[in-house]
C-alpha cells in the first residue's frame, strides 16, 4: 500500500483571527430562508411531486422489502425441480419421492423443509434429508452443499461425478470444482451459474429454459 498526498501543512497557518469568535448565533439569518426551504416545506414539495408521478406501476416483480438468503435459496431449489430431468433408473416406484440431500447443517434445512411442505412435482412428494457421507449423497436427487463444507467438496463431487445427482452449491470453490448449479450474489440479489459439462456427465438433463435464466452457463463447445 502506498500513497502520497499534499495536505494542509500543520505549520504556519496564520489565522489573523485572534478576534475570531464572532457574535454567537448568527442572529437574523433565519429570516433569509422561506418556509419552502425548511425541511417541512421540502417534504410537502416532495409529496406533491410524488403524487403527480404516480399512476402507472404495472409489471411483475417480487413483493416484500427484503429477505434472508436461505428462504430465497430454498425457493430457487424447489423451482429447479421443474426444469431438471433425471434418468428413469433413479426412481424405483412411480410415485417415489424426490430426495433433497443437505450437506452441512444450518438454516437452509429448515428453509427447504418449509419450501417443499405440501408441494409436489409431477405427482411426487419432496423430502429433505441431512447427508453425512458420499454414499448417503448418492441416494439424493438434488444435493445442496452449504458454503461451510468446502473442505469435503472434492471428495463429495468426485464420488458423485457419475451418479445422476444434481449438485447445488453456494461457494466459489463449489463452482470451480465442477458443481452443477452454483448460487452467486450479485447486486444484492441471488443469481445462479450452471456447469453443463458436469450435468451431462452425470446424466442429469437441465432444460434450455433454466439455462436461459442462468447468469452464466459453462460448457465445453
Amino acid at each position: 500500500m502506498s500513497s502520497t498526498s499534499h495536505r494542509p501543512r500543520p505549520g504556519q497557518f496564520q489565522l489573523a483571527c485572534g478576534s475570531a469568535v464572532l457574535s454567537p448565533g448568527g442572529e437574523g439569518r433565519e429570516g433569509r430562508f422561506s418556509f419552502w426551504q425548511t425541511p417541512l416545506g421540502g417534504f410537502i414539495v416532495l409529496g406533491m411531486m410524488v403524487c403527480s408521478l404516480m399512476g402507472r406501476t404495472r409489471a411483475a416483480g417480487a413483493e416484500a422489502v427484503s429477505f434472508q438468503e436461505h428462504p430465497v435459496k430454498a425457493a430457487f431449489i424447489y423451482n429447479f425441480f421443474k426444469f431438471v430431468e433425471w434418468p428413469a433408473s433413479r426412481f424405483q416406484e412411480t410415485n417415489a419421492p424426490l430426495l433433497i440431500g443437505v450437506v452441512g447443517r444450518g438454516p437452509i434445512t429448515a428453509a427447504l423443509e418449509a419450501a417443499v411442505q405440501d408441494r409436489k412435482i409431477n405427482g411426487r412428494n419432496l423430502l429433505v434429508q441431512a447427508v453425512a457421507t458420499p454414499e448417503e449423497a448418492r441416494a439424493a436427487h438434488l444435493l445442496f452443499v452449504a458454503a461451510t463444507e468446502d473442505k469435503q467438496l472434492d471428495k463429495l463431487l468426485k464420488a458423485l461425478a457419475t451418479s445422476s445427482v444434481l449438485t447445488v452449491g453456494e461457494s466459489e470453490a463449489f463452482a470451480r470444482q465442477g458443481g452443477m448449479i452454483c448460487f452467486v450474489l450479485e447486486n444484492g440479489k441471488i443469481r445462479f451459474e450452471i456447469n453443463m459439462d458436469s450435468a451431462q456427465r452425470a446424466g442429469v438433463k437441465v432444460s434450455a429454459q433454466l439455462q436461459k435464466l442462468a447468469r452464466t452457463v459453462r460448457r465445453t463447445p
Binding site: 505549520g11 504556519q12 497557518f13 464572532l22 417541512l40 403524487c51 406501476t57 413483493e63 450479485e186
Partner: protein, 642 residues
C-alpha cells in the same frame, strides 16, 4: 423543542407519502393471498428479490438482522437509479450519515460527529476488505479522489458503531466496506461518457471477463475533469479582516482526477491493483500562509506522487505492508468462533514541510511504526435462533503508544419471525496519525505535548421490524462516550491539537423502507442527535441536530425507465468560529433508462434541483466560517456494454 416537533411532523408526513404511494401501487392488483410464500414465485421473480447479506459486521456472511450492528446496504441499483456520482453521494443517503466538504476534500459525518480536519480517521473505509485509511493523515476519500469509479461498485456495506474488535485502529464510529464488481459481471467491455454543467466531463473504459477456466480479469480506467464554479464568493469570519479580492475566488474550483482499477482472480487467488490521482484547486484557500494566498491561481492540492509548485510546499509519502491471518470454526453446528491476528509495518512515512527558495526545511519526520493485534470473537446461539450472543475482544500493540483492549458484546433477540431486537456494546480506540502527532511541534503552531489516543464506548438499542409484506422499519437509540477526543483549538491565536476530556453524544434514529411488486421502492429516515463537550456543555461544531432523508424510485416503464427522487435535510450547525450555519434541504432527481436499446443505458440527473443556497462549515485553517456549496448541477451519462 419546536424544531423537534417540526422535524417529527416532516417525518410523519414523508412516511405517509411513502406508505400511500406504495399502498396505492398495490391496489391495482388483487389482494395478496396470505398463504403465498416464496416457493410460489417463479425463478424470474425470485431473481428480483433483494437479500440482505452482510459480510463486514462479523467477517463472515450473515443476514442483516443477524449482524451484531445496525447495517445499511447501498447497491449498484441504488447508484444507478438515484444517479450517485461519488462515494460521498452514496454515504449521504444513509441514515444518520452526513457528508460535508470544504470545496476540496469531503468529510464524513457519522451520528453528529464531523470534526474539522478529520480526513477520515474515525471511519474505517475498505475496498473488498482492504484498508484504505493511510497512516499519515488517516485519509479516506469520498469525492472524485476515491480510488474506485462508483459505477464499478456492486454494493456498499455500512456497519454502524465501533468495529475495533475485528478491525483495530480507525474502526471508531463505523466501518464502510465497498465491494467492487468483478470480471464476471462484464461480457467484455463497457464504455461510459458523461458531461454536465460547470464544464464537467467524465469518461470510463472497462474490460472485464470470466474465462471458461474460471480466470476473471477486470481493468478499468476513469478520467474526470471539471472547471467548477467560475466565481465563488466567500465571507471572512472576521469583518475587521476581510478577504482580498472582495472574497471572490475566480476560476479556482477546477478538478481533474484519474483512477485505475485492475483485478485478476483465479481460484482462491486474487490480485488487485488500484491507483487514483487528483488535482484540485483550493478556492477556499485553507492553510493561509505567506506561500498560499487567497485567490492564488497556483493554489491546488495534489493527491498523488507529485509536487506543488509554490514557494512553500509540503509533501508526504506513506508506504505500509500488512499481513493478516484469520481462522473460523463452527462448533456443534451452532456456535461460531473467529480468531485472527494482524501485523502492520509502516516503513516509509515521511512528512515534510519546507521552503524551496531559499531552502529551509521546517519539519521533516519519518517515523517507522509497527502495530500488531490479535482478536477472538464468539457467536453463541443460546436458544435456537431466537437468542444469539456475540462476544469478542481485541488486543492491539503499537510501537509508539500504549497497547489497547477493545471489547464488544451483542445480544440479538428474535422473539418471533419478523422482529429483531439488538442490544449492542462496543469499544474502540484511535491513535493519533503521523500528522496529528507532529502537529503541535511544527513552527508556527502553539507547541506543547502531542495528543494521545482517543477511546469511544457505545451502547445501542436497536429494533428491526418487518411490517406486512411491503415495509420494514428500523428504530435505534444510542449513546457514545468519547474520552480524549483529538481536536483542534486556538491557543493564543495559534492552532493546537488537544485531547478533549469527555465528549458525549446520544441520539435516536428511525427508518422505514418500502417496496412494492411493481418495482416501486423508497426509504425515509430521520435522525435526531446531540453531541456535547461535557467540560463546557456546549454542542460540538458541525453537528446537526436533525437529519432527514427521503428516497423514492418510481418505475415509469416496465424495468426500463425509472425516476429516482432524493431529498436530504440537515438542520443548522455551529461553525468553528461560533457562528450559525443555516439548515437546508436539497432535492436530487434522476431519470435512468436501460434495455431500450440493447446494451445501452442513459442517465440524466440533477443535484440540488432547486438551486438552494447552502454552506458547510470550514475548519480553523479557513478564515471563512462557512463555505458555500455548489448550486444546481446537471449530469448526463451514456453507457454502452458490448
Amino acid at each position: 423543542m419546536r424544531s423537534i416537533l417540526k422535524g417529527m411532523r416532516g417525518l410523519v408526513l414523508a412516511s405517509l407519502v411513502l406508505a400511500a404511494t406504495i399502498t396505492r401501487a398495490q391496489e391495482t392488483r388483487p389482494p395478496p393471498n396470505p398463504a403465498t410464500n416464496l416457493a410460489d414465485l417463479s425463478l424470474e421473480q425470485l431473481m428480483e428479490i433483494p437479500v440482505d447479506t452482510v459480510y463486514s459486521a462479523s467477517k463472515h456472511k450473515e443476514s442483516r438482522s443477524a449482524a451484531p450492528s445496525l447495517v445499511s446496504i447501498v447497491t449498484a441499483q441504488d447508484i444507478q437509479q438515484y444517479g450517485y456520482r461519488t462515494l460521498g453521494d452514496i454515504l449521504n443517503s444513509v441514515r444518520g450519515f452526513y457528508v460535508t466538504g470544504d470545496r476540496n476534500y469531503s468529510f464524513l459525518g457519522v451520528r453528529g460527529f464531523n470534526r474539522p480536519d478529520d480526513y477520515g480517521g474515525r471511519t474505517l473505509l475498505m475496498v473488498d476488505g482492504h484498508r484504505l485509511n493511510e497512516a499519515l493523515f488517516d485519509t479516506t476519500s469520498y469525492g472524485h479522489d476515491f480510488i474506485l469509479d462508483v459505477d464499478l461498485i456492486d454494493r456498499v456495506e455500512v456497519v454502524r458503531g465501533p468495529g475495533a474488535v475485528l478491525y483495530g485502529n480507525n474502526a471508531f464510529f463505523s466501518v464502510v466496506n465497498v465491494i467492487p464488481k468483478r470480471g464476471r459481471d462484464y461480457h467484455w467491455g463497457e464504455v461510459s461518457v458523461g458531461g454536465g454543467n460547470y464544464d464537467s466531463y467524465q469518461g470510463r473504459f472497462t474490460v472485464g471477463k470470466q474465462f471458461t477456466n474460471g480466470l476473471e480479469i477486470l481493468f478499468s480506467g476513469t478520467y474526470f475533469d471539471t472547471k467548477g464554479e467560475k466565481r465563488i464568493h466567500y465571507v471572512s469570519a472576521d469583518p475587521a479582516n476581510p478577504l482580498p479580492n472582495g472574497g471572490v475566488a475566480e476560476n479556482l474550483d477546477y478538478e481533474r482526477s484519474r483512477s485505475f482499477f485492475s483485478q485478476l482472480r483465479y481460484g482462491d487467488f486474487t490480485l488487485t491493483g488500484a491507483y487514483a490521482s487528483r488535482e484540485k484547486a483550493t478556492s477556499a484557500a485553507p492553510y493561509l500562509t505567506t506561500g498560499l494566498v487567497f485567490n492564488d491561481p497556483t493554489a491546488q492540492t495534489i493527491d498523488e506522487p507529485s509536487y506543488l509548485d509554490v514557494v512553500n510546499y509540503d509533501w508526504s509519502r506513506s508506504e505500509a505492508v500488512d499481513g493478516e491471518v484469520q481462522v473460523g470454526k463452527t462448533l456443534w453446528d451452532r456456535h461460531v468462533l473467529t480468531a485472527g491476528a494482524e501485523y502492520r509495518e509502516l516503513f516509509h512515512n515521511r512528512y515534510q514541510n519546507e521552503d524551496l527558495n531559499p531552502a529551509v526545511i521546517y519539519t521533516s519526520i519519518n517515523p517507522r511504526q509497527r502495530t500488531w493485534g490479535v482478536f477472538a470473537n464468539a457467536e453463541a446461539q443460546l436458544y435456537r435462533t431466537n437468542l444469539t450472543l456475540h462476544a469478542g475482544v481485541r488486543y492491539d500493540g503499537f510501537s509508539e503508544f500504549d497497547s489497547a483492549l477493545s471489547p464488544r458484546a451483542a445480544l440479538i433477540v428474535r422473539p418471533w419471525n419478523p422482529t429483531t431486537f439488538k442490544v449492542l456494546y462496543g469499544q474502540a480506540y484511535r491513535t493519533p496519525n503521523v500528522y496529528e502527532a507532529a502537529f503541535n511541534s511544527v513552527p508556527g503552531n502553539a507547541g506543547g505535548a502531542s495528543p494521545g489516543p482517543e477511546t469511544i464506548r457505545t451502547v445501542e438499542l436497536g429494533w428491526e421490524q418487518e411490517l406486512g409484506k411491503h415495509f420494514r422499519t428500523t428504530v435505534s437509540a444510542y449513546r457514545n462516550e468519547i474520552t480524549d477526543l483529538i481536536d483542534t483549538e486556538l491557543l493564543g491565536g495559534a492552532p493546537h491539537l488537544v485531547n478533549r476530556g469527555q465528549v458525549e453524544s446520544r441520539g435516536v434514529e428511525f427508518e422505514i423502507e418500502g417496496r412494492a411488486k411493481s418495482r416501486l421502492r423508497g426509504r425515509v429516515s430521520y435522525a435526531l442527535q446531540e453531541t456535547w463537550d461535557t467540560a463546557t456543555d456546549k454542542t460540538l461544531s458541525n453537528s446537526p441536530r436533525h437529519l432527514a432523508k427521503f428516497n423514492l424510485s418510481v418505475p415509469l416503464y416496465q424495468d426500463k425507465v425509472f425516476a429516482g427522487l432524493e431529498v436530504q435535510c440537515e438542520s443548522a450547525v455551529r461553525s468553528v468560529y461560533d457562528t450559525r450555519i443555516n439548515s437546508f434541504w436539497l432535492m436530487n432527481a434522476t431519470l435512468f433508462s436501460q434495455k431500450i436499446v440493447r446494451g445501452l443505458e442513459f442517465t440524466a440527473s440533477v443535484q440540488n434541483l432547486f438551486d438552494q443556497p447552502y454552506a458547510f462549515p470550514g475548519s480553523l485553517a479557513h478564515r471563512q466560517a462557512e463555505l458555500p456549496q455548489l448550486g444546481r448541477s446537471l449530469w448526463f451519462k451514456l453507457t454502452y456494454r458490448f
